[in-house]
C-alpha cells in the first residue's frame, strides 16, 4: 500500500516538477474534439481529465501538464479543477473502482454492513486498492438509484439491491476475469 502513496504526486513534492507526459494521439484528438464544443477551451478541462483517466486509469502530474498545455492553462489551474471533483483520480486506482453509496436511503437499507463486509472480504480499507492492484473501494454519495438501495457501482455498472454475498461474488467475479 505504501508504494501507492509513494507514487502519488502532489504539488510541492519533487514529482510536481516532473516533465510533461505528452498526450497520446487518441487522447489529444478526443480532447480537441470536446474543446470544440465550447467558445473557450478551458470549458473542456473536466472532460479532458476524464479522457486521460479513461486511457491511463488516473491523472499523473505529467499528463496534467500536457492537458494544461493543450487547453492553454497553467498546471495549477487544471489541478484546482481536478482536485474539486470526486471522480477525478490524482492517484493510481485499481483496474476496477467499486463505489458503495453511503447516502440516506442506502443508510436506512443497510449499506454499512455491505461496506464493512466487503472491506473485510478484500482485506482492504475504504479508499485503498487491493494489493494485486485490481479493485479500489470508494464511498460515493447518493447514486440516484435509491429505489434499489443499497446500491453500488462496479466499474460502470450499477448494481442493487444487494446483499453482502451478492456483492462479494460480483467483485470476485470482476477480479477473477482480470487475473
Amino acid at each position: 500500500m505504501s508504494d501507492l502513496i509513494a507514487t502519488n504526486a502532489m504539488p510541492g513534492t519533487s514529482n510536481w516538477r516532473e516533465a510533461i507526459d505528452p498526450l497520446t494521439d487518441a487522447e489529444r484528438l478526443e480532447i480537441e474534439h470536446l474543446a470544440s464544443h465550447y467558445p473557450r477551451a478551458q470549458a473542456a478541462t473536466i472532460e479532458a481529465l476524464k479522457v486521460v483517466q479513461e486511457y491511463q486509469g488516473w491523472v499523473s502530474d505529467g499528463k496534467l501538464k500536457a492537458i494544461a498545455d493543450t487547453l492553454g492553462m497553467s498546471p495549477d489551474e487544471v489541478d484546482s479543477v481536478a482536485t474539486f471533483y470526486n471522480r477525478i483520480y490524482r492517484r493510481p486506482v485499481g483496474k476496477t473502482v467499486v463505489t458503495i453509496c453511503d447516502s440516506v436511503s442506502c443508510w436506512i437499507m443497510g449499506y454499512r454492513e455491505l461496506q464493512e463486509k466487503l472491506c473485510a472480504h478484500l482485506d482492504t480499507p475504504l479508499g485503498k486498492t487491493t494489493p494485486d492492484g485490481e479493485i479500489t473501494l470508494l464511498p460515493t454519495p447518493c447514486l440516484g438509484a435509491c429505489d434499489r438501495a443499497p446500491v453500488a457501482m462496479v466499474g460502470e455498472k450499477l448494481v442493487g439491491p444487494l446483499n453482502v454475498d451478492e456483492l462479494k461474488a460480483l467483485v470476485d467475479q470482476v477480479r477473477g476475469q482480470k487475473l
Binding site: 482536485t83 440516506v104 461496506q115 429505489d147
Partner: protein, 449 residues
C-alpha cells in the same frame, strides 16, 4: 386519442430497461412539438409555456416561462445565448431524472430544443452527473440521431433556427446542481456558486444570457406544445398543472418512481403505489422531496403533493422523491447521515456552511456515541439559524438545516432519549454515519493532507 394520455412523460419508457428508439419516439408525435413550436415563433411559445404555468421540477418550483422571460430580448441583445439542462441529480433520495433519460432520451432532446428556441439560444448543453454512464451513452446517441434527422443543427425543419446541442458529463460534486455553480463547472472551473445578482438570465455561461432548467421540467415541453395549455391543466389534481414524477425510498414494499397527477396525496403515493410499509415496521415521518426538505409526519399523509400545499405544511415538495423514516430507524442517525453528506459536499465558500456543518456533525455524532448533553438540543437549533437562509451564498446550507430543524421539532423525544440514556436507543453507537473518508483515493485528501 393521444390527448387521453395520463402519463405523457413516462408513457414510452419500457419496463425491460431498454431505450425508446427514435422511430418509437416518433410513433405518436415525437418531434412534432418542436415543429409546432418553431412554426409558432419564440414569443408565442414563451407565452404558451407561461400560460401553462409549468413550475420547475428541479426543486424550487419556479415558472419556466417566466424564467426565460427574464433574459434580455434577443432582438435588442444580439450575441450568444445558452440553455442548459440541469441533469446533475445528486440530491440524496432523488432518482427521477435518471429514469427519464435512460428510458426516453429523445424526449429530453426535444424538450431542450423547444426551451432553447423559446430562449432564442443557439447552443444547448446537457450537464449530466458523473456515474450516470448509461444515460450518457443513450443521450449521446439520441443527440447524434436527432442531428442526422434534421431536428438539431442548421435550419431545423426549414425554420431558419440553428441549434447545437452537446452533452457535458461532470465528475461528481453535489454543488454542481446549484445553477450558478453548474455554470462555473461548465466553464471548466471549481464548482463554486456565483453571487447573485447578476442572475444567469442576464449574465450566465461565458457571461452571456443563460437559462438553466431541470430534466423533468424540459420533458414536459413537447407535450404542452402538442396538446395545449388546457390539457396540461387538466392533468393536475389541485392547484398545480401537469403530472409529477414521485418516488419513494426507504422500508416500503415497492420502492420506485411513478408519474402521477401533480397533487396526488402522500397517502396514495406511499400506501397504494409504494405498497405500504414492509412487514414489521411502521411509518414515522418522511422527507417529501429529497434530503434537503423538512420532515413531515403521519399527520400529513392526506396532504396533496404539490408545491403550495407542502409549503403550507412547513416543508417543500422539492424533487418529489420521498425518503421514509420508519420506527426501526433512528431519526438522529438519519439526520447525521444527511448532515455528513452536506458537510462533505459544501464548496467551502461561506463560513457558516464550511464550519457550521462539521460542527453540527460532531454534535450529532457525539449524541449517537452516548456523549450527548442536554444543552445540545438548543445548540443544534441555534446552529440551524446560523446556516439558514440569508447567511450563505447558496441554498446548500439552508437545505441542510431543513431535515435537522424539523427532526428537532417532530422527533424531539428521540434526541432527548439519546442524551438521557447516554447511548443510541437504536444501537447505532460508534458512528451511525459514514466511515472515515480521509483516506479516500480521490483528491480531497490532497486538501486535507
Amino acid at each position: 386519442m393521444s390527448s387521453s394520455i395520463k402519463t405523457p412523460l413516462s408513457n414510452r419508457i419500457k419496463a425491460d430497461g431498454s431505450v425508446t428508439t427514435l422511430e418509437e419516439y416518433q410513433v405518436e408525435y415525437g418531434y412534432q412539438g418542436l415543429k409546432k413550436a418553431l412554426d409558432m415563433g419564440s414569443n408565442d411559445l414563451l407565452n404558451l409555456v407561461k400560460d401553462a404555468n409549468l413550475k420547475g421540477r428541479g426543486g424550487a418550483g419556479f415558472s419556466a416561462g417566466l424564467k426565460w422571460s427574464f433574459m434580455p430580448p434577443a432582438e435588442t441583445n444580439p450575441g450568444p445565448r445558452y440553455l442548459i439542462c440541469n441533469a446533475d441529480e445528486m440530491e440524496p433520495g432523488t432518482f427521477k431524472d435518471r429514469w427519464l433519460m435512460e428510458g426516453d432520451p429523445h424526449q429530453l432532446v426535444e424538450g431542450l430544443a423547444i426551451a432553447a428556441y423559446a430562449a432564442q439560444a443557439q447552443t444547448a448543453y446537457i450537464f449530466l452527473r458523473a456515474d450516470y454512464d448509461l444515460c450518457a451513452e443513450r443521450l449521446e446517441a439520441a443527440i447524434t440521431e436527432a442531428c442526422q434527422a434534421g431536428f438539431l443543427g442548421k435550419d431545423i425543419m426549414g425554420s431558419g433556427y440553428n441549434l447545437d446541442m452537446y452533452l457535458h458529463t461532470s465528475a461528481g460534486r453535489y454543488i454542481c446542481g446549484e445553477e450558478t455553480a453548474l455554470i462555473n463547472s461548465l466553464e471548466g472551473r471549481r464548482a463554486i456558486p456565483r453571487a447573485k445578482p447578476p442572475f444567469p438570465q442576464v449574465s450566465g455561461l461565458f457571461g452571456k444570457p443563460t437559462a438553466v432548467n431541470n430534466v423533468e421540467t424540459l420533458c414536459n415541453l413537447p407535450h404542452i406544445v402538442h396538446h395545449g395549455v388546457e390539457w396540461f391543466a387538466d392533468l393536475g389534481i389541485g392547484e398545480d398543472n401537469g403530472t409529477k414524477l414521485y418516488g419513494v425510498s426507504g422500508r416500503v414494499k415497492n420502492p420506485a418512481c411513478w408519474e402521477l397527477p401533480i397533487g396526488t396525496t402522500v397517502r396514495e403515493i406511499i400506501e397504494v403505489h409504494a405498497g405500504g410499509m414492509q412487514d414489521g415496521v411502521k411509518l414515522r415521518g418522511f422527507l417529501p422531496g429529497g434530503g434537503s426538505t423538512d420532515f413531515l409526519t403521519t399527520e400529513h399523509l392526506d396532504l396533496a403533493m404539490d408545491f403550495g400545499t407542502i409549503a403550507k405544511a412547513g416543508s417543500r415538495m422539492g424533487t418529489g422523491t420521498m425518503i421514509l423514516l420508519d420506527d426501526k430507524t433512528c431519526p438522529v442517525g438519519m439526520v447525521l447521515n444527511l448532515i455528513e453528506f452536506f458537510a462533505q459536499e459544501s464548496c467551502g465558500w461561506c463560513t457558516p456552511c464550511r464550519n457550521g456543518l462539521p460542527f453540527i456533525r460532531q454534535v450529532l455524532q457525539d449524541m449517537e456515541n452516548g456523549l450527548g448533553k442536554t444543552e445540545d438540543l438548543d445548540r443544534l437549533l441555534e446552529l440551524c439559524g446560523y446556516i439558514g437562509i440569508g447567511n450563505t451564498h447558496c441554498a446548500l446550507a439552508p437545505g441542510a438545516a431543513e431535515p435537522l430543524q424539523s427532526a428537532l421539532k417532530y422527533f424531539r423525544e428521540d434526541f432527548e432519549s439519546h442524551v438521557k440514556n447516554q447511548c443510541c436507543p437504536f444501537g447505532n453507537e460508534k458512528g451511525s454515519g459514514k466511515a472515515d473518508h480521509s483516506h479516500a483515493a480521490h483528491t480531497h485528501s490532497h486538501e486535507t493532507a
